[in-house]
């Protein structure tokens, strides 16, 4: 007998119950173990590309990644010179993404508010349908659309703004979708509580619905930014390339990080003269890897900021 006190005497029926309660179903055990293995395996499989990607970007990119690289452009850099940086591309990516966000977030959030709070009937259904269609637009088509739009309006032109419009076409549906979902998560009771206090509908939406959902909306916007910040093809068409710093999004070619990576990698090995010690044959590859590292860091930084914002605004339940 174990040390635990047994209150009732052990009878035939209680032993039968004990058998029933402790009986092991070997089939279920086996299935459980098998599924566990499959799930862990799938997880490991999914981690392989991520770890490998981070590893190769770090090992190849850290070599040239320094303050000089971050603060210099490619102006007057040629051949195998041990010089050149990513500043102009970093600036271009930040500015173009900023303008894209300024275009997409108001349109996206207002559309989502319409769909959740006001939309009924054929118009809302049509908007939902076309948002779905927009989600599937290939990025190169968005680039051609923006280029053609500005061509018709002002003639042939390339600028950061044209690129921002192209990226906005890609970003708007993502913002709408995620914001819509977040707004639908806000309990209807909160809206009613606000109405019952004599608060008009628009103030209820601004101060209760959006305020309650702001953490989720921020996360959605960050995901949408991450979706467009790595776009290359539409930017080659709409923004072009440059080796110099251009701070003006309304005029002239700009460089962006993904395009920079592509251009550097495409340039390939430098044919150095034999015995020329100042010529680095792999300089273009090195810059491409370092720029890729910069791009990853930018996205990571944005994610951290978004997490901070979400945490700050999230509804607090603990006293």
């Amino acid at each position: 007998m174990p040390a635990t006190t047994t209150l009732a005497p052990v009878t035939e029926s209680s032993q039968e119950l004990r058998r029933a309660l402790t009986a092991v179903d070997p089939g279920r055990r086996r299935k459980d173990r098998a599924m566990r293995g499959v799930i862990y395996g799938a997880f490991a499989l999914a981690m392989i590309p991520l770890v490998s990607l981070v590893w190769s970007v770090l090992t190849n990119g850290l070599g040239r990644f320094d303050l000089y690289f971050l603060t210099h452009s490619m102006r007057n850099v040629f051949g195998g010179m041990d010089a050149g940086g990513v500043y102009h591309a970093l600036l271009g990516t930040v500015l173009i993404t900023l303008v894209t966000t300024l275009i997409s977030v108001p349109i996206g959030i207002l559309t989502a508010i319409y769909l959740v709070e006001y939309g009924q009937g054929p118009l809302a259904r049509a908007v939902t349908f076309f948002v779905d269609v927009m989600t599937g637009i290939p990025s190169i088509v968005a680039g051609l659309f923006a280029f053609a739009l500005f061509y018709l309006l002002v003639g042939p032109t390339r600028s950061g703004l044209v690129g921002s419009v192209a990226l906005a076409v890609l970003m708007i549906p993502v913002v709408i979708r995620s914001t819509e979902e977040m707004l639908r998560l806000v309990p209807h009771e909160l809206r009613e509580a606000s109405y019952a206090l004599g608060v008009p509908k628009w103030l209820t939406i601004v101060k209760v619905v959006l305020r309650t959902a702001v953490a989720g909306i921020t996360t959605g916007v960050m995901i949408a930014i991450a979706r467009v910040i790595g776009e290359t093809a539409p930017l080659i068409i709409t923004v072009g390339v440059t080796d110099s710093i251009n701070r003006n999004v309304f005029e002239g070619n700009m460089m962006t990080l993904p395009v920079y990576v592509y251009r550097q990698y495409a340039a390939g090995l430098v044919p150095c003269a034999p015995g020329d010690a100042s010529c680095i044959a792999t300089i273009n590859y090195d810059r491409a890897w370092s720029a890729a590292l910069v791009l990853i860091l930018v996205v990571m930084l944005l994610n951290l900021v978004a997490r901070g914002v979400s945490r700050w605004f999230a509804p607090k339940t603990r006293a």
Partner: protein
Amino acid sequence: MAQRIDAKDLNIYYGSFLAVSDVTMSIDPQSVTALIGPSGCGKSTFLRSLNRMHEVIPGARVEGTVAMDGVDLYGADVDPVAVRRQVGMVFQRPNPFPTMSIAENVLAGVRLNNKRISKGDAQDLVEQSLRHANLWNEVKDRLAKPGSGLSGGQQQRLCIARAIAVKPQVLLMDEPCSALDPISTLAIEDLIAQLKSEYTIVIVTHNMQQAARVSDRTGFFNLAGVGQPGRLVEIDATSTIFSSPTQQATEDYISGRFG
């Protein structure tokens, strides 16, 4: 503060479905009127038509008149938002705003309407409303803490404080205790008894003992069958309803013989 409400020939629809038919009743000021009846008989729908919350649901509409001190709340020039400032409401499930602190929840009616209020006035309003809701002593040391950290019963009293901070004439309560334990329920019932000196109170409840305990008058709603509109069977002094109702259906319902 309190004012009377007269509903006359009220038909309430959801789209083409007639949910409540032909209700005529008077609600006295400074009294508690309880509405009882089986689920789906339209008590809550009727209650929500008294502050025009009903029409928040798409397709919902009302025929007939609801007059507050002779003014038809459904008149063409009446703003539903203004109606809701005069007729406050407490819901079945406590619903404090999760993003706001206890004090901010009490001030929600003021702040959400973008009205300016001085810090001193705000503090006074918070204290006065929470005292009225019998919650002040429990929360006075943690006014800046989130409202959703309170217990269910405290949250419901917070919601009552929030409703009376807007200084309404009438307070509607839609099963305010159905999500609460007996002790919290008792606290809310005591509160109702105190509040009726200042407000006209209408309470929907499934708990007949509660109706008998807190109300001066009781109305019994019933429906003939599924898909049929709910009707007001009778309304009378609570003691009369529970001792000698004139309608057989009322007697069956309160004595538990109801199918």
